[in-house]
């Protein structure tokens, strides 16, 4: 049973250093120079959305802004482009977290997909307004790939919070 709001599974509290480490790993993945390869997901947006859904009280738009700026620098985008999109993602994920956590990971992925799609759409609109060329529709395919990645991510990122299986007959939970 996956730890959603419906399950009885109780998780250990999250460690913030782990949250930031995963965000930096995602940043690293974003920095890998894949050029104009289609369907490369935006890892930072994905991990950020994940933590903003799981821990709405601990992480939010501030982290979105900072990691957005770092992404902008690394990929050579306009400064503030990813920051703007990630702030929106973080805000929406925080707001959605009460609802999303009642669903299974697959259904959660369906909730996250429009979020990631929207973040890309915002970036496209911002850049087109500034007079850049339209990169083509394949670019949006990345958010679909990212939504699929949500499901394994759900297992991997929650791994450190699982409690050790120590059955105690005197305490039922």
């Amino acid at each position: 049973m996956q730890p959603t709001n419906r399950s009885r599974r109780i998780l250990l509290p999250v460690k913030m250093w782990f949250v930031y480490t995963t965000l930096f790993i995602a940043l690293f993945l974003n920095y890998i120079p894949t050029g104009h390869l289609p369907a490369v997901p935006d890892f930072v947006a994905l991990v950020l959305a994940f933590w903003c859904v799981r821990e709405p009280l601990k992480i939010g738009i501030g982290a979105g802004f900072v990691f957005g700026l770092l992404t902008d620098i690394g990929v050579g985008a306009a400064l503030g482009q990813h920051a703007f999109a990630y702030v929106l993602v973080a805000y929406a994920a925080n707001e959605l977290s009460r609802r999303v956590l009642w669903f299974t990971p697959v259904e959660q992925a369906l909730h996250v997909l429009p979020l990631l799609f929207l973040s890309q759409l915002v970036m496209v609109i911002v850049r087109l307004m500034a007079g850049a060329e339209f990169p083509g529709w394949w670019m949006f395919f990345g958010s679909f790939v990212a939504a699929v990645l949500w499901i394994p991510l759900h297992y991997v990122l929650l791994l450190p919070q699982y409690q050790p299986v120590e059955r105690d007959d005197n305490r039922p939970i």
Binding site: F65, G76, G80, V87, R127, G131, A132, E133, M139
Partner: protein, 283 residues
């Protein structure tokens, strides 16, 4: 809300006003180690593919390079003599000497990930003496221009980037124009009248009017000319001459000789405020 406004402000100041280069430089120093680490797998893949390149391909390439060197050598011999002659004539004419241009060979590391633009990252930066605005060529023609310089790398904007402009000249007719990147891997000659003397297949070279590019470097070939009487200007798409999107080594040219000083501003005639009519000064 605050962050939204802040990021919008950043966007405007970066895209429209270009205030943030120092800020970007600072942050890029922070991001650099992570970037380097992330580029490693790409390097590895590239090196591995080089390593496994077939012997036959290398032999063919070697042969081709040798023949090209021979051809080049012959032209170089003549060039030396011509340069001598040119210098001599220039001294006779008392024209300013053309300074030899210092250039740096750089390797393209990877394509920048930003899907909205056509930029590549070179492996030489400010430490190798590269400055923003320098022209970049490969062995066939102009490739682009350096737009940002980081300590160890620099960003090269390709000619095909949308709205990247370069002043050019049509070789056959001597017509001067400005060539713009059109964003789809092609370029476009804009603002030429519908009856301008341009034909498909015309070679286009730099005119050197900008003081950045040397005059006479090949830039593009006219692909076709669409003359629509309904429009003032002809639509002229051009194919880039250099392998603008597929080279590995490029040459970053140093800045050209400084332009002649601007002519002094004409003294505004006293009392001439109203209207645009210039009255001859009476004195």
């Amino acid at each position: 809300m605050f962050f939204l406004v802040l990021s919008l402000a950043l966007l405007v100041s970066d895209l429209k006003l270009r205030y943030l280069d120092a800020f970007r430089q600072g942050l890029s120093v922070l991001a650099y180690p992570l970037q380097m680490a992330a580029a490693t797998p790409a390097d590895f893949v590239r090196n591995a593919s080089d390593y496994f390149a077939s012997l036959v391909r290398l032999q063919i390439e070697n042969k081709e390079l040798k023949s090209r060197q021979l051809q080049g050598g012959e032209r170089l011999l003549r060039l030396e003599q011509l340069e001598q002659e040119n210098r001599h004539l220039r001294t006779l004419l008392e024209a300013r000497e053309r300074q030899p241009v210092k250039s740096t060979v750089a390797e393209i590391m990877y394509t920048a990930k930003d899907p909205f633009s056509r930029k590549v990252i070179l492996d030489k930066g400010a430490q190798a003496g590269i400055e923003a605005g320098q022209a970049v060529v490969d062995d066939v023609g102009v490739v682009g221009q350096i737009t940002r310089v980081f300590p160890m790398q620099s960003e090269l904007t390709l000619l095909t980037d949308k709205d990247q402009a370069i002043p050019v000249m049509v070789v056959r007719s001597g017509l001067r124009a400005v060539l713009f990147g059109s964003g789809d891997g092609l370029m476009e000659l804009r603002y030429l009248a519908a009856n301008a003397d341009v034909q498909p297949g015309d070679k286009i070279v730099t005119s050197g009017l900008d003081g950045v590019f040397l005059a006479g470097l090949p830039v593009a070939t006219v692909a076709r000319v669409e003359r629509d009487q309904a429009q003032t200007f002809a639509r002229i798409p051009c194919l880039p001459a250099a392998g603008v999107e597929r080279f590995t080594h490029v040459l970053v040219l140093g800045h050209r000789e400084s332009l002649p000083a601007r002519p002094p501003e004409v003294e505004p005639v006293a009392g001439k405020i109203k209207g645009r009519k210039a009255r001859p000064a009476k004195d």
